[in-house]
């Protein structure tokens, strides 16, 4: 006797729960019950739970009866011919979706080999335990799970070919790889998600060795000629948008070349690329601060009195210009209307990105690194047959991380490149490494993948054999060009007069609390003062009342708003932030009186 719950609501009792559940499942597999419904017997409270609600995570499994999977060779043949589809298999009850609860009652075999009479289901494939991207890591079963996870995270950031209609799209922050390739060492997931249609990397020759210390701490050394041949070359697209907004009182923005009278007019130089319609022309080379779309807006706070005020009636400059540190070529200009019927202008800027020192690259095994040095091909190490690596990877990256799959891919890539075929590196049923080695030997190379290399600069033979092979490398979307930032002087905040924050605002790099402490600990007191004087100001102080006095620029006199001009007023040098906190004290009705005293 068990209670039955449908979506957590009590609906009745059954005498024999196991019989009921068996019957339920048979009906579902026959198709007379929806295959979206799951049933679960909880042996702790002896209740039956039926779930049909939304939001349950479910996964497909092959149904097993008496130790024999219902999916047969015949089905597979039919599937290959296209006579049968996935939906048919589900409808026929050969494949079944289980939710987390029903899975508790199931006994699932990992592979067909493990099947026993007690099993109720069979995994479709062992690598279904991974997500899409993690199953793209070749030979993942040879590597720690943490590295596979990182490999999958890195691949998501890879630059590739994201959509073939990219020319008419206005996506934000797009990167496009120029000569993408299909990996030599693939996994069967590559076929499922159609790797050929949107690949994200390139096959290159990798040598595992150190190179004058320029590839320590995960850096990589790249051959300059490889970059010139197009390795890792990509394009960065970024659109800018301007809209002719309508304001109350019939006022509108205007997209045009701004008049010189306009408030905030930049300089003629900045507007030089604009055509008569106020928009840049395609293929114009733009640099930072160049105006891309010229726009003027009506004055901001127009009160009734200002209608008679001629000076206030001037329009305001609100053009869209290139951000600080950005450059490129105008790729595409689009004129359209938005939902409200306002004129909308979009301009897409394109910038070619050739890999440079600081750009990030990765293999598929969580072995990411930045370029530490670009070496002319003449200086790259070479083998007797004249092969020069495109990339030099540091051997110190391997022992502690134990990414064996990285090393196997290198051999696999070498075999694949030499024999002109793709290598199957699918997790759990890949081409065995031993066979790859045998094939490598038959191709006339050393079985362990090493080769004799010669120093590119001196021509001397290296004392050790170098592990060389082909690997699939990806360029990641983090490029120095988007991150490089330094400032000597620049914009400040209005309130505190301290430097602005962040790269986009050309901000300063903060010397924080703990950094300050290190100066104090060293006793570098005067250096600390100098480092913190970004907001230093000179303020006049009334010696009588100890409050900030006023300096009249016109008359060149100083007076105190409280004590008048018959008092001693002295200039002191403090940080503006301190002057500000004095004002805040006053707003708290606290009287901050400064008692001045000669320092010397």
């Amino acid at each position: 006797m068990s209670e039955v719950y449908l979506n957590s609501k009590y609906i009745g009792d059954v005498e024999e729960p196991s019989l009921f559940i068996d019957q339920f499942k048979t009906e579902r597999r026959k198709g007379s019950l929806s295959n979206n419904v799951n049933i679960f017997y909880n042996d702790l409270d002896n209740n039956v739970y039926i779930e049909s609600s939304k939001g349950r995570a479910r996964r497909p499994l092959i149904v097993v009866k008496d130790g024999i999977p219902l999916l047969t060779e015949k089905h597979l043949e039919q599937l290959e011919k296209g006579e049968l589809s996935w939906v048919d298999l589900v409808n026929q009850g050969i494949i079944e979706y289980l939710d987390a609860a029903e899975e508790e009652n199931a006994y699932i075999a990992f592979t067909e080999k493990d099947l026993k009479a007690e099993h109720t289901h069979l995994e479709i494939t062992p690598y279904s335990m991974f997500g899409l991207v993690a199953s793209l890591v070749p030979y993942a079963n040879f590597t720690p799970a943490a590295r596979v996870n990182m490999g999958s995270k890195n691949q998501r950031q890879a630059i590739g070919f994201y959509a073939s209609n990219y020319l008419v799209r206005m996506d934000m922050d797009v990167n496009l790889l120029h000569n993408p390739q299909v990996p030599i060492v693939k996994s069967s997931m590559s076929d499922i998600y159609m790797d050929e249609k949107h690949p994200a990397g390139q096959n290159i020759v990798v040598a595992v060795m150190s190179n004058d210390g320029y590839n320590m701490e995960d850096a990589i050394v790249i051959s300059k000629s490889s970059l010139e041949r197009g390795f890792g070359r990509s394009t960065y697209y970024r659109p800018s948008t301007a809209e002719e907004m309508r304001y109350s009182g019939g006022l509108v923005d205007e997209i045009s070349v701004p008049d010189k009278e306009v408030k905030g007019y930049k300089s003629e130089e900045d507007y030089r690329l604009l055509e008569n319609d106020g928009i840049v022309y395609p293929e114009a080379k733009v640099e930072e601060d160049d105006v891309v779309i010229g726009k003027t807006s009506p004055p901001r706070f127009l009160s009734s009195m200002d209608e008679y005020n001629l000076a206030a009636a001037t329009r305001r400059e609100s053009s869209i210009s290139m951000a600080h540190g950005e450059k490129g070529v105008i790729d595409f200009v689009m004129l359209t209307e938005n939902e409200e019927g306002n004129k909308l202008v979009q301009v897409r800027v394109r910038d070619q990105r050739i890999p440079e020192i600081g750009d990030k690259f990765t293999s598929r095994h969580g072995q990411k690194g930045v370029i530490g040095l670009i070496v002319p091909e003449t200086d790259m190490p070479f083998s007797a047959s004249g092969i020069k690596p495109d990339l030099i990877f540091s051997p110190h990256g391997v022992p502690s991380r134990m990414t064996i799959s990285h090393l196997i891919e290198l051999i696999g890539g070498k075999v694949g490149a030499l024999s002109g075929r793709q290598i199957d590196g699918t997790t759990f049923h890949s081409e065995p490494e031993a066979e790859l080695r045998k094939e490598l030997l038959s191709l006339g190379f050393k079985e362990n993948g090493t080769e004799t290399l010669y120093n590119g600069k001196t021509g001397e033979e290296y004392n050790v054999k170098i592990y060389v092979g082909n690997m699939y490398y990806m360029k990641l979307k983090h490029m120095v060009a988007n991150k490089l930032h330094a400032r000597a002087r620049g914009p400040i905040q209005l309130l505190t007069r301290q430097p602005t924050e962040g790269r986009a605002k050309e901000g300063g790099l903060r010397l924080g609390e703990m950094e300050k402490d290190t100066f104090v600990a060293h006793g570098a007191s005067l250096l600390l003062k100098e480092r913190f004087d970004s907001d230093k100001t000179v303020v006049p102080v009334c010696e009588k009342c100890g409050l900030i006095a006023i300096h009249d620029e016109y008359k060149n006199t100083k007076y105190c708003p409280i004590c008048g001009d018959d008092v001693d007023i002295t200039n002191i040098e403090v940080s503006y932030a301190f002057k500000l906190i004095l004002d805040e004290f006053k707003s708290l009705c606290v009287y901050p009186k400064l008692q001045l005293k000669n320092k010397y």
Partner: protein
Amino acid sequence: MKEYKKYRKRLPLSLLEEVKEKTKDMPEARVNKILKEVHKEYRKAKVQAGESVGLVSAESLGEPGTQMTLNTFHFAGVAEMNVTVGLPRIIEILDGRKKIKTPMMEVYLKPPYNKGKDIKKLALSIKETLLKEVMSEISVDLANSSIEIILDKEKVKDIGATAGSIVKALEKQAKGTNVKKKEDTIIIKPKSKENHVAEAYKLKEKIKNIYIKGVKNIKQVLPVKRGNEFIIITSGSNLPEILEMKEVDTSRTVTNDIYEISRILGIEAARAVVINEVSKVIEAQGLNVDIRHIMLIADTMCFSGDLKGITRYGVVSEKASVLARASFETPIKHIINAALVGEVDELNSVVENVMLNQAVPVGTGLPGLVTKIK
């Protein structure tokens, strides 16, 4: 000797005594030479004026502190004797908490007890025993609305008590009741005339927790052999009562409750315990912090005569500068209070001068120029 006198003001006494001891049989000229060298070395070892020792101490303890948060060794140890270690313990010490999480004592014993004589009995007699630990049965007599207790004779014997002493303890602590002993059972009856059963049930719960024997607050005892003597480690701390026991070696017995130490043994002892406890934690983590940094922090906490934590209620509230206090937690409170009494900030320390963008008075910011004006 003349030479020693000359150096009395220039060398610390302990150093001078040591030199005296070691140069007993030497000729005067040589002693003089040695003293000169000692003085030179001593001056070299002294910290320079304007060195920010406090900040360096803070950094030296703060840096390993950040590493400790990443360590999972916070709650290492056997479940029976669970002691706070790692970062939580350091925070507890430096905050000067009055109620620490796991108070603990190490009770050293006088001979012959430290050789293991009656060690188990002694340990059990220290342990705080409640009635519920020595009884085998407790029930409410509904007819008389009284409570009947049957004692576990074995356990009573273990702790060195008798039925009589238990009855006495009950009489003393269970106020408003009549306690009677009848063969093996103890009967407790409320004195009030009305026979309320509900009250009897309430009383039953109360009586279960009545203290019978041992030292209060000592929750657990564990005799262990350390070196070649036996000591008793306890969970829970009660220094005054333990020190009164005649078996205890009062000169070595310690607790980790620093506040209790400062109350019973004085502030100098508390300072020593702060230093010991902090270095113990740091050493247990395999880190290395110079003892002098910890000593400076302990001095800061103790120099006023009371134990003060490094919190806004403790040493920070003692800072001379309003601005310095305001820059560390609850700024408005400090500013308003300073305004009420018209406090003057002399700008004598680091934080205030950083706020004003003035040279801080340490290191290069300290010296001034003295010159005669003609």
